[in-house]
Amino acid sequence: MVNKEQVSSLQIAFMIMLFEIGSTPLFLLGGTAKQDSWLAMCAGSAAGFALLLVLMWIQHRSPGTDLIGMLKAHFGTAPGAFIGAVYSLYFAYQSMRNVRDLGELTAMTMLPRTPMAITMLVFVLLALYAIWKGAEVVFRLPEVLLPVMLFFYFLLVVMLSIMGAIDLSRLAPVMEGGLMPVLQAALPEIVSFPFGQMIVFLMLWTLWEKPGVPVKYTVNAYLLISAFLIFMNALNVAVLGPAIAGVSQLPFLKTVRVLSNLKFVERLDILVTIQLFLGLLIKMMLFYFCSVKALAELTGKPAKWWVFPMGAVIYGSSFLERDYTQHIAVGLGPSLKLDPLFQVAIPLLLALSIWVRGRLQRSA
């Protein structure tokens, strides 16, 4: 390929939004803060924003280099390559979590009798097809999907408010137990999912048609989507109340089912299912893409060379967990402990290295 694949600022902004939405609004994040979960979201988002600033600064200081290149430059070629490989696996692992999420959720809501192996295979193949077509195609998808998805959310919110299902008093009392429960719920859980996952854009900003980082678009996209996620979180609680929202597997599905209880429209599950499908697909696709891109850069092979092996790895590993319970347990246990290492610790080390090197260069 002669000209490098490039994406526009708008495409990056759309991708950030769709990626951050993912499947997030379907779950109640920060549920331990009860009715203050939306405040926990705010805290998480703010912490994530600080992290995002660090990431953007790193990218700004190393124009034209993605995460793998930076790791190699700052930690030495061999250790950098090793950490890069670990990152590739980490991305693949995140991708596999989404595949499994979809498999489980599909079995739960849509196709109870179809083996998960088939739905997950279809899912992985879809992502594989898009990644095979290249970054340009991957980044065009959000431009179509994000408006569709937001439209569906908008429809649901409007219907919920028309039917009077939203009761803001369920959000009271605000900060019943002080600030601590809120922060405890936010850190590190909400930071690592979904806000900390912005780390993938260290792999993607280099695709931008101009050098550097599209700061304005990135920040705006991030802030907009944070506001949206906080709103959706508050909505879940305002409809269901903190108790029910906290215990249900898919609170948003329950929220939408409130509409059928109101005898207005019978079942809007389909809208939720579509949102779920699209959100998970994009998220999974992007992790998969980053993993492939990282491997391609580490091995010097074209990205297409790694698409199929990586797809097989992701598909295969999605069977490792025995059942949904274990899947959730791993997600909330070891996974959550590992995330800060990749999302916060290593980027901070990178930033430190860049800063120190900048200092040394200036003094020399």
Binding site: M110, L111, V122, E136, R140, L141, R267
Partner: protein, 540 residues
């Protein structure tokens, strides 16, 4: 050894196996030339050879060759034969053949196109284009006078793309009529018409029509390259060209528009597209075309913008209905009964009680039936049309339901699907989803809604990667160019579209002056620059 002759045969043989002999210069002797002519074209009954010998000494000997039916008999008789035979200088004694040749060429022939040629290879195509050839005894050069004038269909209302308001004339089979219709709509010096002849046996004339400065040079170069690369013996219709030059041979989606309407074509050309008019068919092509072009009808611009926007949204809706409705019906009745309101579910279940087939088979059967009916409607002689309607509506619809072969709901689904398909203004894209619908139904029967969504994603990814002459198929939505979205899902008022709304790789150009929104009379005191000038008052 055995490969050697094979190889040489491949290289020497003409790929389309027409005989292309070496260029043959004319001979001095008229008799020899005529013999060569009849050896080449045989003694077909429509070829007329008229000998003429003047009264002078030495006599001037000429032969006229033309094809009856391709020429206008009046022109040949009056402009060519009569003017030559009655010319006194030509019949005078002291004129040499060379002088006569020049005299005829420069002065005598009162027709627009006069060409001279020295070989048969040049003369024969002219003959088949309706030229009258004039051969001279003692000269190795011949004249060809444009006398073409064959029977043409008159300009009619387009049958495939009707409008309520708007021009009612459509292209005809004549290339020249087509280019003239475009020329009449685009009276600008920038309009360029490039002609090609493609097809060794059909020699079909093809005209590339575009506006210089608006059409992207990149696209033009690419189209020219692809047209020149066509090596076939026959071009009978625009689809021959379309299939040879369109991107992505393996896509269900059309990447070139076809239209019968000169106004639609002029509109496309004005937005930087390149038109391809093909002799022998009233359907012309427009490229590059994006997915959204296929949902724009020329009538969108002839009606008020509000109703146009509404209709356009209806079209997109109809597109999805036509593609998805049977599949959704299958998916919901087979996999997701819980999604239906209870009363509807009960009523559907009651209807399906006596139906012997599973939903998928039922839907497939009815869809195929409809496609058979539709094909029959196109092919059958007009006189037996009512019979088909009765059979279709009563026997296959009502009676099938009453007999318990299909459920009434399925008949409704299939009918609505079929009608939705006709809402889409472009037959090209309507046809492509006719096929996609079947795949969709099959997937819905095996994976339900999940399958439908997955297949929609496959289509989306496919379209996101598709290009039409370098233009991304989904632009301006993906890649998104927000200011071009004014004419995609809705149509904003004409005074709101100051820039050319599409991305055809061309330069972004202004097409009208801004601030033309009609204002109340308060500003009438200071005339705006955009005020239309009365016609005929100085240069525009």
């Amino acid at each position: 050894m055995p490969q050697e002759p094979k190889k040489s045969r491949q290289t020497t043989k003409d790929p389309v196996e027409t005989s292309v002999p070496a260029p043959l210069p004319l001979k001095l002797s008229l008799e020899d030339n005529l013999q060569e002519f009849s050896r080449r074209i045989g003694s077909s009954s429509d070829i007329v050879i008229r000998h003429y010998k003047s009264e002078a000494k030495p006599p001037l000997t000429l032969a006229f060759i033309y094809i009856d039916g391709l020429v206008n008999a009046d022109t040949v008789n009056q402009a060519v034969l009569q003017s030559l035979m009655e010319n006194s200088t030509l019949n005078g004694d002291s004129i040499t053949t060379e002088a006569a040749f020049n005299l005829i060429k420069e002065h005598i022939l009162p027709v627009g196109g006069v060409k001279e040629a020295r070989t048969l290879e040049v003369l024969l195509p002219l003959l088949f284009d309706g030229y009258t050839l004039i051969l001279f005894e003692g000269l190795q050069v011949a004249l060809a006078a444009d006398t073409s004038g064959w029977e043409k269909r008159s300009i009619n209302e387009p049958t495939s793309q009707g409008v309520i308001r708007g021009p009612k004339e459509g292209f005809t089979e004549s290339l020249r009529t087509g280019t003239a219709m475009l020329r009449r709509r685009l009276k600008t010096a920038d309009l360029r018409i490039e002609e090609y002849t493609i097809g060794q046996r059909t020699g079909t004339g093809i005209a590339l029509v575009y506006l210089k400065g608006l059409a992207s040079e990149q696209v033009l170069t690419e189209i020219r390259r692809r047209l020149n690369a066509i090596n076939t013996d026959a071009i009978l219709e625009s689809n021959y060209i379309e299939e040879f030059i369109q991107d992505g041979g393996l896509t269900p989606f059309p990447t070139i528009q076809n239209t019968e309407r000169p106004d639609a074509m002029a509109g496309g050309i004005l937005e930087g597209q390149v038109g391809i008019v093909i002799d022998g068919t009233p359907f012309a092509l427009l490229a590059p075309s994006t997915f959204f072009n296929f949902f724009q009808s020329s009538e969108d611009y002839y009606q008020r913008y509000d109703i146009s926007s509404f209709l356009r949204l209806i079209r997109y809706g109809a597109f999805f209905v036509s593609m998805l409705l049977p599949a959704l019906y299958i998916a919901v009745t087979t996999f997701h009964q819980e999604m239906l309101p209870t009363t509807l579910l009960i009523s559907l279940a009651a209807q399906r009680e006596g139906v012997p087939l599973p939903a998928f088979a039922e839907a497939l059967l009815m869809e195929l039936t409809f496609d058979v009916l539709r094909e029959a409607g196109v092919r059958m002689p007009r006189t037996i049309g009512p019979a088909i309607s009765i059979v279709g509506a009563l026997v296959l619809g009502q009676a099938a339901v009453q007999a318990g072969l299909v459920s009434a709901a399925m008949v409704i689904v299939v009918s609505f699907t079929a009608i939705s398909n006709f809402v889409i203004p472009s037959l090209a894209i309507a046809n492509s989803i006719r096929l996609i619908r079947f795949v969709m139904m099959f997937i819905a029967a095996s994976l339900g809604l999940f399958g439908i969504m997955s297949f929609l994603m496959v289509l989306l990814i496919h379209m996101a990667g598709l290009r039409s002459f370098g233009v991304p198929y989904l632009s301006p939505v993906a890649p998104m160019i927000p200011r071009y979205l004014k004419d995609i899902f809705i149509r904003v008022p004409l005074w709101g579209m100051n820039m050319r709304p599409k991305t055809n790789l061309g330069k972004e150009t202004r097409r009208q002056s801004p601030h033309q929104k009609p204002q109340p009379a308060e500003d009438a005191a200071k005339p705006s620059p955009a005020q239309p000038k009365p016609q005929g008052e100085g240069p525009a």
